[in-house]
């Protein structure tokens, strides 16, 4: 994908191997006795060096995470995207109320009449509706619940 020119402008000291590792590690990681060794061998490097590089990529926040990526709904949990149209003068109050609920995983301000967008994640799938009701009661605004009906693709692979 495009954007490589801008990538060069970031202040990250990523060498060619870091970039290859970033691409490789987005594809998956083995389940075996020495998984780091298995991947290190693909690049003809030591297991220790691979671990050190992953640690550095995490420390410098080039990676936000390294590990199993869980699928909330398959775990029996509920997940939904919801939106609200909040008057600007009331936005901060409502954001605090919404964010105070532990079921709110992400919340973004967006430039639209629907200006607050959040992800509701519950351990039990039936609890999403209750969270929607609770937010409406707390804030006094309508919550437009938009649970996914069908998923087409999740997981951009950033080629770097």
């Amino acid at each position: 994908m495009r954007g490589s020119a801008e990538t060069q402008q970031t202040d990250l000291a990523l060498d060619a191997l870091d970039r290859q590792l970033l691409n490789r590690l987005q594809d998956g990681f083995p389940v075996c006795d020495r998984p780091y060794l298995a991947v290190a061998r693909e690049f003809s490097i030591d297991e220790d060096e691979l671990i050190a590089r992953i640690q550095r990529l995490l420390d410098t926040n080039v990676l936000t995470r390294f590990g199993p990526m869980y699928h909330a709904e398959r775990m029996g949990g509920g997940l939904s995207l919801a939106a609200m149209a909040v008057p600007v003068e009331d936005f901060e109050r409502v954001a605090l109320l919404v964010n105070s609920l532990p079921e709110i995983a992400h919340n973004y301000a967006r430039d639209h009449d629907f200006n607050m967008w959040f992800v509701i994640a519950t351990e039990d799938r039936d609890d999403v509706a209750a969270v929607v009701k609770k937010i409406q009661a707390l804030t006094g605004y309508t919550v437009y619940n938009m649970p996914k009906i069908e998923e087409f693709y999740v997981g951009l692979r950033f080629a770097v």
């Binding site: 199993p68 990526m69 869980y70 775990m75 973004y108 639209h112 996914k148």
Partner: protein, 172 residues
Amino acid sequence: MSACDLLCDNVMQLAECDRQLIELTQGGLPLVPQPYHELARQMGISADEVMLRIQRMQDNGVIRRIAAVPNHYKLGFRANGMTVWNVPDEKVSALGEQIGALDFVSHCYHRPRHPPLWHYNLFAMVHGASRDDVQDHIAAIARLLGDDNHGSDVLFSTRILKKTGLRIRARE
């Protein structure tokens, strides 16, 4: 720990051991030469059982994959727009598959409309180096949709209000 003996193939009810594994790894996989052995040591079960359970969770989709999650902002993809489209309901599956396959789209979903305020039924998160870049991508999606595009919008995020990610706790 006795719950570990309960094998549970029903993904609606994760076995206690799987829940523990999820809890131990939601921050990430241990960065030690034998990460699965390390998890096994923490849980007091065998490494073989840890690997078996992780493999099974991958097979049944509880784990999408074990992988690195890059910080796209740090990698230069500084603009992301939530693009939303109004397409015919009977075509949304086919069109969603095509849009989801585009290399600048990270998430693509069919979601419900909320008329009269919200007519969009197809969501695609688009990433680029700049907003101009994102606009180019939007034009590409519009070309792909052709006459099936009955309206669209793009919502840029202006602020992250909260980002904690998924949290699960082991049951008592």
